[in-house]
């Protein structure tokens, strides 16, 4: 019991009295809205009291930082040991353009790198593929070969800076490039650190960057987890992501539940191979969440996520190593909460969202730039976004104490409620036979589509408000300068690629691709073959075409 009988009794009495007062007040002074709910449409009560925590047990449900159930964080010293990593997602144009932006960010105090690739790279197409028409270098950096990659990381100390790469279907290829580049630069694999997103289930559910069908996709991921555990121990071979699920219109609870159920699916697949025990790889699994605009809902979501994962790892998978029970995550503020109208308001939104991430105990954070809803971020906008994190860490005092909102009736109650709702989803998907089966049925996709449509309708009906969009809209605009990528970037990239195809040893390329094909067919780990292939200057698409050929191609089922 969280509160003594005496406290509960006193609380009940005072609450009853308060309720009577409320009824009286409402007679003359009604509420200004009919309904008070979170951005995800959870109903929120007018007041939370000790009664809302009747079934909470302090030691079991809340506990101490660095102890099961890790509700209050993984680290015993909280943010005093070190603050979260300031990790700004960036990438644009050519490898050289992006490298320049990275050096600028490091000079300005960024502490980790994060790569945005363009769509052809994300989808496993070379810049000269007809599918890449109009897309090269537009939403991120174009990388076709190891040579591009070396230009991207020029002068970046790979043994000191960790790099995250948002890459999914071709994750093996880009990671192979990173490993090959480290080797070329003389940094041993066991010293490089970073993350590949490499989470395909959320692609089928939400983001739609896919290449091969779900089952072989999960197989490739398990290959990377195995390879990492053996040779690249400081690397996070997967970042199990709720961010995109949320951006696609999911509620906070759906984001929480689907992401964790994805995590369960990956663990099950690796264990099915019977090559590793859960503690061999679980400490390297990492997560990635969204921080939306509803401050408390987001804080509670992140706290609940840690507690659910610890239970899953301990009770479902029997993990023993405390690090296997840790849920380590990166957070990005919500792109979908930003508005193209009155774009400077986005600075405010991002600040509140970043605060939610920090109060939720994130290990790493990207703050969106005010112009990201319009174009790639400008240098000035990125600087403000980075400064937002620095102000939070060094001026506001939110780092002074660990999990400062713990024990709040409201926060603990909402955390419990979100956890309970997430378990319902997890159990439902278990009953369907797991996430791959649920995806094939379209279940999470349709749940999200329903939530997205409901939200949009609420916006139209002004039941939910976006300032500057459906309320306080103004004619007068304060435009922001837009960053544009020249079409010449694409032309130059194609020229470079054509030139490389002429120069390289084509026999070595075909041989390494043949070896990779054999590995795909006989079930050997693809990573070593991938590394050889990129060293021989095979292009990203050439390698991905091998996967497509052996595993088949997944097409959007277009559920809506």
């Amino acid at each position: 019991m969280y509160f003594s009988d005496e406290t509960q009794k006193a609380s009940r009495k005072l609450t009853e009295q308060w309720q009577a007062n409320v009824q009286n007040t409402l007679k003359t002074n009604t509420d200004w809205k009919n309904r008070f709910s979170t951005v995800s449409d959870l109903d929120i009560k007018r007041l939370y009291t000790p009664e809302d925590l009747q079934n909470t047990d302090f030691a079991r449900d809340i506990g101490a930082p660095g102890e099961f159930p890790y509700l209050r964080g993984n680290q015993v010293t909280g943010y005093r040991g070190q603050p979260w990593t300031f990790r700004m997602f960036s990438g644009m144009g050519s490898a050289e353009d992006t490298n320049a932006r990275w050096h600028l960010l490091l000079r300005e105090g960024q502490t980790g790198l994060s790569t945005a690739f363009d769509f052809p790279t994300l989808m496993g197409y070379d810049s000269d593929s007809p599918k890449a028409l109009g897309e090269v270098g537009k939403c991120g950096v174009a990388i076709d070969t190891l040579e591009d990659f070396l230009a991207l990381i020029d002068d970046i100390p790979l043994d000191r800076v960790t790099t995250s790469m948002t890459i999914n279907p071709p994750a093996t290829v880009l990671w192979a490039m990173y490993c090959a580049a480290a080797e070329i630069k003389g940094v041993p694999l066991n010293q490089i650190g970073g993350t590949i997103q490499n989470d395909m289930l959320k692609e089928f559910i939400a983001q739609k960057t896919f290449m091969c069908p779900p089952e072989p996709s999960v197989r490739l991921i398990s290959d990377t987890v195995e390879f990492g555990a053996k040779y690249v121990p400081r690397w996070n071979p997967i970042s199990i992501s709720g961010y995109h699920i949320r951006e696609a219109g999911a509620t906070a609870v759906q984001e929480l539940a689907f992401t964790l159920r994805d995590g369960i699916e990956y663990v099950e697949d690796i264990l099915r191979r019977k090559k590793m025990s859960v503690d061999d790889f679980a400490p390297r699994l990492s997560f990635f969440f969204n921080a939306h605009i509803d401050l408390f809902e987001e804080i509670c979501k992140l706290r609940a996520a840690r507690r659910i994962w610890a239970k899953v790892m301990r009770d479902r998978f029997g993990a023993k190593n405390p690090r296997s029970l840790w849920m380590r995550f990166h957070v990005q503020t919500a792109g979908c909460s930003l508005t193209a109208q009155q774009p400077y308001n986005n600075v405010v939104r991002t600040t509140i969202e970043a605060l939610a991430a920090v109060l939720g105990g994130t290990q790493s954070l990207h703050t969106n730039s005010l112009d990201e809803v319009l174009c790639l971020p400008s240098e000035h906008a990125v600087e403000i976004a980075l400064r937002t994190q620095q102000i939070l860490a060094e001026e506001t005092g939110v780092v002074n104490t660990i999990d400062p909102l713990a024990g709040s009736y409201f926060v603990e109650s909402l955390t419990n409620e979100m956890e309970a709702k997430a378990w319902e989803y997890i159990e439902k998907i278990d009953a369907m036979g797991g996430m791959v089966a649920a995806i094939e049925r379209g279940y999470p996709q349709m749940e999200i589509a329903d939530a997205a449509y409901t939200f949009q309708r609420q916006i139209e009906a002004k039941e939910k408000i976006m300032v500057g969009v459906n309320k306080y809209a103004t004619e007068a605009q304060h435009p922001v300068p837009l960053v544009e990528i020249d079409e010449k970037v694409g032309e130059e990239q194609i020229r470079r690629l054509k030139d490389l195809r002429r120069r390289r040893d084509s026999r070595a390329v075909s041989q390494s691709l043949a070896d990779l094909r054999a590995a795909c067919k006989n079930g050997a780990n693809v990573m070593p073959h991938c590394i050889t292939a990129v060293k021989n200057l095979a292009t990203e698409q050439e390698i991905c075409d091998v996967y497509r050929e052996v595993y088949g191609e997944y097409r959007d089922p277009g559920l809506y």
């Binding site: 069908p213 779900p214 089952e215 072989p216 049925r441 379209g442 595993y551 088949g552 997944y554 097409r555 959007d556 089922p557 277009g558 559920l559 809506y560």
Partner: protein, 324 residues
């Protein structure tokens, strides 16, 4: 031959798709066009594909298109989806699974919403099939959800009917009892890698064996198709399905049943046409001038009965062309 008929018979997509649209929208001039192309119809082989939602019909249709194209056959596809009873709108979602054939000039894919008004769906589907026949498509695939009466009517346009079942939906055997057994020429057990597939096959096979059949009768074969994402195996199985359909076609020809089926189709066509030129105009007029509601009121209060009213309307209409 009019210019429009010529264009359609030459396979012009633009004219054909426009005519289908006009027929769906019931433009009077479209009926005339349909009459003009009719002599050029009747030479396509028509395959119906039906089964419950989520059975994987569209994916299967997509695979069959691939098989048929390998045999150099031109293909028309008619994909039927339900209209929303609330808004009258429709989400036509089948085509998305066939988009790899979008640019293939030998393939014409058309989505059709049920619209639901006056039971005209079978006719709209029949009209669209006629246009595709006139275009010279060798094979026409008609895909439709579920086994309701409307769908059964559509499916009777087909020469061969594939019924798609999946294990684990819980209602397979119920569906079978509800009349699918009679219409199926080929059964597919789709997603056969799922638990329950073997049992479903056994149950289905035993049901087929107990149904009375003579030595010359066609016994619907069962093709089990596994995971779509094992490309080699999936391709092998869809080829097997195509083969089963071809065998059924041969059986229809040899046994003389093809003639029976084309006759069945012709009966349905004239029934639909009669409905279009008698029942629909009558109903439309009665609805438009509010007469139908008035009659209904009188029936409701038992001032009259529907039979007397109907006979009176029919007599009036046949005599004067006016229902009221």
């Amino acid at each position: 031959m009019t210019q429009n008929t010529q264009k359609i018979c030459a396979g012009d997509v633009r004219s054909a798709s426009r005519l289908i649209r006009d027929l769906e929208d019931r433009r009077p001039e479209a009926r005339l066009r349909l009459r003009q192309i009719f002599p050029h119809t009747g030479r396509s082989f028509i395959i119906g594909i039906t089964g419950s939602p989520g059975a994987g019909k569209s994916t299967l249709t997509d695979a069959l298109i691939g098989e048929l194209r390998k045999q150099q056959k031109t293909v028309g596809v008619l994909a039927v989806d339900p209209s929303s009873p609330f808004s009258g709108g429709a989400l036509l979602g089948d085509r998305v699974r066939m988009l790899r054939h979008a640019e293939d000039e030998g393939v014409f894919i058309r989505s059709l919403a049920t619209r639901g008004a006056l039971g005209g769906l079978a006719r709209a589907a029949g009209d669209a099939i006629h246009v595709m026949e006139a275009m010279g498509k060798d094979v026409i695939l008609v895909e439709t959800v579920g086994i309701g009466q409307q769908e059964l009517d559509i499916i009777h346009h087909a020469h061969s009917i594939i019924v798609v079942l999946v294990p684990g939906m819980g209602d397979e055997i119920q569906t079978m009892k509800a009349g699918v057994m009679e219409i199926a020429d080929v059964f597919v057990i789709n997603k056969a890698d799922r638990p329950g597939a073997r049992q479903l096959r056994t149950e289905l096979a035993s049901l087929l064996n107990v149904s009375p059949h003579g030595p010359q009768d066609w016994i619907p074969p069962i093709v089990s198709i596994g995971n779509l994402y094992e490309p080699e195996n999936f391709a092998k199985k869809t080829a097997e399905l195509m083969d089963a359909v071809a065998k059924h076609h041969a059986h229809l020809v040899v046994s003389g049943q093809l003639a029976e089926r084309t006759e069945r189709k012709a009966v349905m066509e004239i029934t639909d046409a009669l409905r279009a030129c008698i029942l629909e105009p009558v109903l439309e007029r009665l609805i438009a001038d509010g007469e139908l509601k008035k009659i209904a009121k009188r029936i409701q209060s038992r001032e009259t009965d529907p039979f007397t009213e109907a006979e009176a309307i029919a007599r009036r209409f046949l005599k004067t062309g006016e229902p009221s």
